[in-house]
């Protein structure tokens, strides 16, 4: 298992390397002078030069690239152009909040989406199925901010169940979870739609399989057919969908964080955008690509857990 994980991580190195290069080059060819952008038009020539020197912007591009890679190997993403703090530090500070949001959303997506998808499949072409399919199509089309706004209006303002602004830093574990629920639900509703659809079609596929007929011929009752014989097989494509849409989820998490005013990658991205903090932005890109790589790996490991035919070799 450990060997498999290491091998998988090694195999993504070429892609990661390419990604790093693209990010690096894009930042350097960006129009505008970062020194000027950060220090402002009124900055003196000396100040600008000192800044360029400090950030290594005067070096030839290839030297900068080499420094960038060297830094990466020692686990450094450079220092922020604006605050001077190491980028890894500022990202590390907020990353857990984005991760807990993303996994909270997947949790809601799965616990709501899978049962609805199964019900839809079992009542195939019935009115309930039709209703759920329309709802899921609606869910797919909902912009993340609209879901968030509506949830805030209903659950926070109308019913006063959850806080309007999610402040996960205060209080203990329970407080943290309490603050997570609404944003995670809001983000999770997007996942619900995707998971519901794939659960429905996976379930329909599986229910038509020969082994389900075998199980019926054994006299297995309906409940057992669905929950024991069919569901584990149907989970395989559902795992794929969750993995596949993780990228989408992270993108939407950024929006959700902004709306709920939660700390996280989203707020950091917007902050560094506004401040033209290119090194932090560069680090954020690297980290988000790395996250996708790790999630793909986790997806593969989940496969092996669900499907005995898959061997981690």
């Amino acid at each position: 298992m450990a060997r498999y994980i290491i091998q998988r991580l090694l195999s993504t190195i070429p892609t990661l390397f390419g990604i790093l290069t693209i990010v690096f080059v894009m930042i350097r060819i960006a129009p505008g002078d970062p020194a000027l952008a950060i220090l402002g038009d009124n900055a003196s020539q000396e100040a600008l030069n000192a800044f360029r020197e400090r950030m290594g912007l005067n070096d030839p591009m290839i030297v900068q690239y080499w420094d960038f890679l060297k830094g990466l190997f020692s686990g450094s993403l450079g220092t922020s152009m604006v605050t001077g703090t190491p980028v890894t530090e500022s990202i590390g500070e907020v990353l857990p909040f984005t991760l807990e949001l993303a996994f909270g959303a997947i949790f809601f997506g799965v616990i709501i989406g899978v049962p609805l998808g199964i019900i839809s499949a079992l009542w195939r072409n019935g009115w309930l199925d039709y209703f759920f399919r329309v709802v899921s199509l609606l869910g797919l089309s909902f912009p993340a901010f609209l879901t968030a706004i509506l949830l805030i209006l209903w659950l926070s303002i109308e019913w006063r169940i959850f806080p309007v602004i999610s402040t996960p830093t205060s209080g203990g574990l329970w407080d943290r979870i309490y603050n997570l629920i609404l944003p995670a639900l809001s983000l999770g509703l997007i996942m619900v739609a995707y998971i519901m659809r794939s659960a429905r079609s996976a379930m329909l596929d599986v229910l038509g399989e020969d082994y389900i007929r075998t199980a019926r011929a054994k006299g297995a009752p309906g409940r057992r057919l669905i929950w024991h014989h069919a569901l584990r097989n149907a989970l395989i494509p559902i795992v794929t969908v969750v993995g596949l849409y993780f990228g989408l989820l992270i993108g939407n998490a950024v929006l959700t964080e902004i709306i709920f005013n939660r700390p996280g990658l989203g707020k950091l991205i917007v902050l560094s955008l506004n401040q033209r903090d290119y090194t932090t932005l560069q680090g954020l890109m690297v980290v988000s690509a790395l996250m996708i790589v790790i999630v793909n790996l986790l997806t593969d490991i989940c496969y092996a857990l669900v499907d005995p035919r898959v061997k981690l070799k």
């Binding site: 894009m26 993340a144 950024v254 917007v270 932005l281």
Partner: protein, 292 residues
């Protein structure tokens, strides 16, 4: 003498048209989606004729109003008419969304067809690049490109195009590999037609069905990305109203005047939903495996 028929089988395109007709009768939802989309498109095109107010005209006295006869969807914090602004915002959304989808479709398909048709190292290089683009969370790719290059119409279109282009390349590549082994392609090759001609005349039309379905679904996505970008503050420059910006601006008054954000939000929802309805129905019609 034997004549070789090198025309691609027309039956595939014809059956697509036939199934579209069948679909319109059978799948009322996607027909509904199409009608909805056309109406929205018309509303956006004829915005200057329909809009009751100048979308930029401020009227501080009437700020943050709810629906009324004067302001069908209320006003924002500067007293601008939300309904008129939505109509003009839709123009931006649709223009950016559809342009970038069309660009991504053409470029992505071209890359996918070339990769599939040529194979070998060209295939490897193209698809590896696509994988790299896919390795980022989609919204973040767009965000990064716009942030670095600057927020204007062209850069936003470029960012969205780059984001969804790999999806088209993938979809075009797989059937190309299958098609290049088919008789009519081999015959065309035997007749000495150039690869460019074979790819554009013999292969491209045959994969269009699937691509068009994808296009409608990704157009929905592109429109959403545009809204997200402008929500974050990376939309086309003010004062041009965009739906995302309207939602963001209204968000400051979410407690006392939630409708300022909600109506533009629903406008995004309607456009995206209409395209998803169309795409969903088309996909069911074209891919029999997904049909019930």
């Amino acid at each position: 003498m034997t004549t070789v028929d090198t025309t691609p089988p027309a039956s595939e395109t014809r059956s697509t048209a036939a199934s579209l007709l069948r679909l319109a009768r059978k799948n009322k939802l996607s027909t509904f989606g199409l009608v909805m989309f056309v109406l929205i498109l018309l509303a956006a095109v004829f915005a200057p004729l329909i809009a009751p107010h100048d979308p930029l005209a401020q009227n501080i006295v009437d700020r943050l109003q709810d629906r009324s006869a004067e302001y069908p969807l209320g006003t924002d914090k500067f007293g601008r008419d939300t309904f008129s602004r939505i109509l003009y915002g839709l123009r931006v959304s649709l223009l950016i969304g559809l342009t970038s989808t069309a660009l991504a479709m053409v470029l992505g398909c071209a890359l996918g067809i070339i990769a599939g048709y040529r194979g070998g190292w060209i295939d490897t290089v193209i698809m590896r690049c696509m994988d790299m683009l896919l390795a980022f969370p989609t919204l973040i790719t767009g965000l990064f490109i716009v942030a670095v290059l600057g927020a204007n119409f062209i850069n936003i279109v470029l960012a969205i195009t780059v984001t969804i282009l790999p999806k088209f390349a993938r979809v075009a590549r797989a059937p190309t590999i299958a098609l290049k082994e088919r008789e009519f392609v081999e015959a065309a090759r035997a007749l000495g037609y150039s690869d460019t001609r074979i790819m554009s005349i013999h292969i491209a039309p045959n994969i269009m069905g699937e691509v068009v379905v994808l296009a409608s679904l990704w157009a929905a996505y592109a429109i959403r990305i545009e809204a997200y970008l402008s929500f974050i503050g990376l939309g086309v420059a003010p004062p041009t109203p965009t739906l995302g910006t309207m939602i963001r601006d209204g968000f400051n008054n979410i407690l006392d005047a939630p409708y300022v954000s909600i109506y533009p939000g629903f406008a995004v929802l309607l456009v995206v939903l209409s395209l998803n309805l169309v795409g969903d129905g088309l996909r069911d019609a074209i891919d029999p495996k997904l049909r019930d």
